[in-house]
Amino acid sequence: MAHLRVSDVTLSFGGLKALSHVDMAIEPGLITSIIGPNGAGKTSMLNCISGFYHPTKGEILYKDKDLSHASPHQVSTMGIARAFQNLELFSGLSVLDNLLLARHQNLTYSFLQAAIFVGKASRIEAENRAAVEDVIDFMELEPVRKHTVGSLSYGFQKKVEVARALTMDPEILLLDEPMAGMNIQEKEDIVRFVMDIQKERNITVVLVEHDLGVVMDISDRIYVLDFGEVIGSGTPEEVANNPKVIEAYIGEE
């Protein structure tokens, strides 16, 4: 049973079809990768799932609920979190504050309770801090906990971005090019985290990535997009031997 099912999704901007008749099934507990050349529609697909775009046609079903017209905040409360390609962090705030902010949905106390700050409010704050610290420990961000995000290296900022998505306790994590712009060592680091996210935290991962080597190594399922269409799907071996995929990446012989 698929966790998240994308059926016949088409997304048009005027005459341009960013996605056409895309079908995907994201199975629980696996790492599913979406690859494709530039402009193939990978990020558009993630945008449709996370509610930033609404597909012109088709539906996105998550646990029998249709996400195709949900807004981003509704999607995120349903357990789908996203780490952005271009970091969406508050660069003037500390790592800790950025992560605490990501748990705003869990702050269920009232204004008055917050003003008094005994009982419920302080208890909830402590719970949230504990959840954030768990992610800090997981992503090994202890040395930079109190540093402002803007003062960190790009590699660290990317880790904070992934951590921010993790802090929301998602069931599905959408990672949009987490390794872009990184050196080999940083990439290996992130790969290890992605695998640990899947294995240790039992989170379903949807990965959009350019680095084919990484994708082939860690994915359980791969979807290949080209000009908005799915041209191949399956296990890494199946995709690697798919003539259409080879053509899209290497060109015709």
Partner: protein, 510 residues
């Protein structure tokens, strides 16, 4: 506590038990985890030692079996080591950076039965050489992250499962553990400490309970520590310096050991703890000074002006202080002013305001660093010693910090200079027996410099170039009864210079 000679009659687990009886609710260990400092009282410390000890026994370990520890500094490391000691087993530390092939060699050489690793990284290294170490019965790990795929293999065991096994064994026979602790003797071997191995393969020095406890007792005779003092544990456990503090000094004085959150956060955790004494290799002190210089350089003009003015005064004043001379009144006033307006806040920012003494050892530190630290009000002192003498044999005394020397011998330490210029030291801390071989035994219980063991020339020239000479003060003939090349206790002292003294002249390698 002034008189703690009676502690020398304990083994390390017995001393821990005595601490529990003295102050059960006082904090013994503290670890930062998930951003919070979590404390273990002496009582809890002992309980965990019991859980681990009984657990290890349930794994089939007994007297004389050895446990290797490859881990960053965490409380569990002490539980495993002292838990092992309690049942008569012997611990051994391996550096976390050791490569798999070398780990296999060390494990074979020390005949290790159980390995304790802190995380998957270390576990993987041991796993890689598994076929070469058939005598290893179990690998205990602390952090279960990434260990999911290994759990089907019963070669691995989570330390929490070990605790449970220990509890179950204790419930079955509640008196057994205490009787095992009672059986320990101060002269039993408790730890195999690897020597630096710069002159060949590392040798496992067979340290006894008494070596460590004597070290703790002697060092506090020179520099006293209070039960309420804090210490931050960030040196590698495989190094004698860390064992000296966690087995010897902490047990003998009742200070609290603090474990940083991770290796990278050690310096910021140090700031939060504000230790009363610290112990480090020269690079740590060089690092802190660079950080100060960098921050001052980035500061605005007024700060720089004040700093540059007062650091000069501080250095002049430090010259007086380090030699124990009295300062002119004006200099004293200016130094006091500098301390109040610049150096106290500065040192506070580093987390060193409560620091009474900082020790440096393991390698030579530039003289200007001593002066610098003394100038900003940090009492930095040199120590000198070897693994075989449980870490420290010589130490600067307060008010007598001559940077070109390594200080005076600790109480109970004799020193002697061999004909070829090597420093020989003798004290109850000396342990010159090595695992698996007795060939290296030194005559008359003396222990040599780091370049001992018939290897004066091979590969150790870098160290031996820094030769320091010392001579005995006063009339040697009279005090020593005609043994001019021989000094005891406070009477001998290192000084720099060329080797031009006559028969009193003796020399030392740093």
């Amino acid at each position: 506590m002034s008189n703690n000679e009676h502690l020398l009659n304990f083994s390390i687990p017995q001393l821990l038990r005595w601490r529990v009886a003295e102050s059960p609710k006082r904090t013994a260990l503290r670890e930062k985890d998930y951003g919070i400092w979590n404390a273990y009282t002496w009582e809890e410390y002992y309980t965990y030692v019991r859980k681990t000890g009984m657990g290890l026994r349930a794994l089939g370990l007994g007297k004389g079996d050895t446990i290797a520890i490859i881990a960053d500094n965490i409380p569990e490391l002490l539980f495993v080591a002292i838990g092992g000691h309690a049942i008569g087993a012997i611990s051994a530390g391996i550096y976390q950076t050791t490569m798999p092939a070398e780990i296999a060699q060390i494990i074979q050489y020390l005949k290790i039965s159980v390995v304790f690793c802190d995380n998957q990284e270390q576990v993987d290294k041991v796993l890689e050489v598994r076929d070469q170490i058939p005598h290893v019965k179990k690998v205990i790990f602390e952090d279960d992250r990434g260990m999911r795929d290994y759990m089907s293999d019963d070669w691995f065991i989570n330390i929490r499962d070990l605790f449970e096994m220990g509890d179950a064994a204790h419930a079955k026979d509640p008196d057994l553990f205490e009787s095992l602790v009672d059986q320990g003797k101060p002269d039993d071997v408790c730890h195999l400490c690897l020597t630096s191995g710069t002159t060949g393969l590392p040798k496992g020095t067979m340290m006894t309970h008494k070596n460590y406890i004597n070290m703790g007792v002697r060092i506090t005779q020179v520099d006293t520590l209070e039960e309420t003092d804090e210490y931050v544990s960030f040196l590698p456990f495989a190094w004698i310096g860390e064992q000296m503090n966690s087995f010897g000094v902490a047990m003998a004085t009742g200070i609290t050991i603090n474990f940083p959150e991770s290796v990278e956060t050690a310096m910021s955790d140090l700031k939060e703890i504000g230790p009363h004494f610290m112990f480090g290799a020269p690079r740590i002190y060089e690092g802190i000074r660079s950080e100060i210089w960098l921050k001052i350089d980035q500061s605005y003009w007024f700060n720089k002006l004040m700093y540059n003015y007062f650091i000069r005064i501080g250095i002049t004043a430090a010259g007086y202080r380090m030699t124990g001379k009295s300062m002119p009144a004006m200099l004293r006033f200016k130094a006091w002013l500098g301390k109040q307006i610049i150096f106290r806040p500065l040192v506070n920012q580093l987390g060193l305001l409560r620091l009474r003494r900082a020790y440096t050892g393991g390698a030579a530190l530039g003289p200007e660093l001593f002066t610098f630290y003394q100038a900003i009000g940090v009492n930095l002192k040199q120590i000198y010693g070897q693994t075989e003498i449980t870490g420290i044999a010589y130490m600067h005394r307060d008010g007598d910090i001559r940077p070109e020397t390594v200080g005076k011998p600790l109480p109970g330490t004799e020193c002697k200079i061999a004909d070829d210029g090597e420093i020989l030291s003798r004290s109850p801390q000396v342990q010159s027996l090595y695992q698996g071989s007795r060939d290296f035994r030194q005559p008359k219980g003396f222990c040599g410099g780091p370049d001992q063991h018939r290897s004066h020339c091979d590969g150790k020239m870098g160290r031996r170039q820094r030769i320091v000479l010392f001579h005995l003060h006063g009339s040697v003939q009279e005090k020593r009864g005609g043994r001019p090349d021989y000094g005891t206790g406070d009477r001998c002292q290192f000084q720099s210079g060329k080797r031009t003294f006559q028969n009193q002249a003796v020399c030392a390698a740093l």
